[in-house]
Symmetry: C2
Subunit: 205 residues, 2 copies
């Protein structure tokens, strides 16, 4: 395992460039040449680290799992944590190329059915966990189907994000997120809990 430092650096450079190109063009329209140009490496370097375009895309998708795994709740209100998660994700979408590329690859289905489903599932599990905690704290309406709710929330966030991307290059994503919560929360949480939440983004995320 020699020379790890340089090798890891170029690997990371390639991964980042690939994420950018995948984000901008999608999997099929992205070309290895453009990734090479943007990364400033040669074909030999790239294919040393990733044996195919597909493997490279899978590595990008994996970044999403890493982001999820790295997120941690910060509030003692679990619904608030859910809201905060949405905003944290929105900021990641605006600034982190790896997350952006990963999301695009996850969203457009095609050759990657397996990892795509896993990615969706990861989000839904995370959301469902938060909802369970919120329910146990007595914040949710009784009788809510948590699986259905987590599906709706992840789906809705996916769509909000997508439309924001197409219509405004994700510039208005934070605002749309706030709009979503405004509409969604009354059907989810009980009034007494609703009063304690800040739907708009909180400082220091």
């Amino acid at each position: 395992m020699a020379k790890q430092a340089r090798a890891l650096a170029t690997r990371q450079t390639v991964l980042l460039a690939a994420a950018e190109v995948f984000d901008e063009r999608g999997y099929a329209a992205a070309t290895m040449s453009e990734i090479l140009d943007r990364a400033g490496v040669t074909k030999g370097a790239l294919y040393f680290h990733f044996h195919s375009k597909q493997e490279l895309a899978l590595a990008v998708i994996e970044g999403q799992g890493a982001w999820i795994a790295g997120w941690e709740p910060a509030s003692d209100s679990w619904v608030q944590n859910l809201i905060d998660l949405g905003y944290a994700f929105a900021h990641a979408l605006q600034s982190d190329p790896l997350v952006r590329g990963s999301i695009r690859l996850t969203i457009e289905h095609g050759s990657f059915t397996q990892p795509q489903i896993a990615a969706y599932q990861g989000w839904m599990d995370l959301v469902r966990g938060l909802l369970e905690q919120a329910r146990d704290a007595g914040d949710l309406h009784p009788g809510i189907d948590l699986v259905a709710a987590s599906g709706v929330i992840t789906g809705a966030v996916t769509g909000i994000q997508l439309s924001s991307q197409v219509l405004a290059d994700r510039q208005d994503l934070i605002q749309r997120m706030a709009d979503l919560w405004t509409l969604l929360l009354p059907g989810l949480v009980q009034p007494h809990a609703l009063a304690r939440l800040s739907v708009a983004e909180r400082a220091a995320s």
Copy 2:
């Protein structure tokens, strides 16, 4: 304007095949050869009717506008009309290849920025119109931002539809739609109006 009948038929055949392939593969990964095979026509025929792959895709996208234009409200409750619209759209997504292909092309951004935005805008305008009627009828919570709400609703439906497609090939789309309305309506309509709505799909759409 001679021989319209046969020409129109092949044009329609090509359009349908193209919609199917675009739906399954996306724009970039779709190949003209596959469209030709599926349509059972030759290159000459296709390129006689559509001068390029891009033009063909645009024609498919146009089908979406036609669907929107063809839809008509049937209830005297405007919120109910909104719900019904969602279900009608869901059924179209399950059965109408043109709508399926059109949606996929609209959703994946890339070369079509202009018509994509137009398509989104068409949906949002339609939804906003329904919401305005509902507001004027006194069904909505006072102070609701209709533009924001229509953005959230179209975005959420987009996402619901997409996740249903990736996870279950749109098999559970109707159920997810119901889940969405269950969560969304309490934040949108007033209780007295809510009581009069059927959130689940109504017979005879």
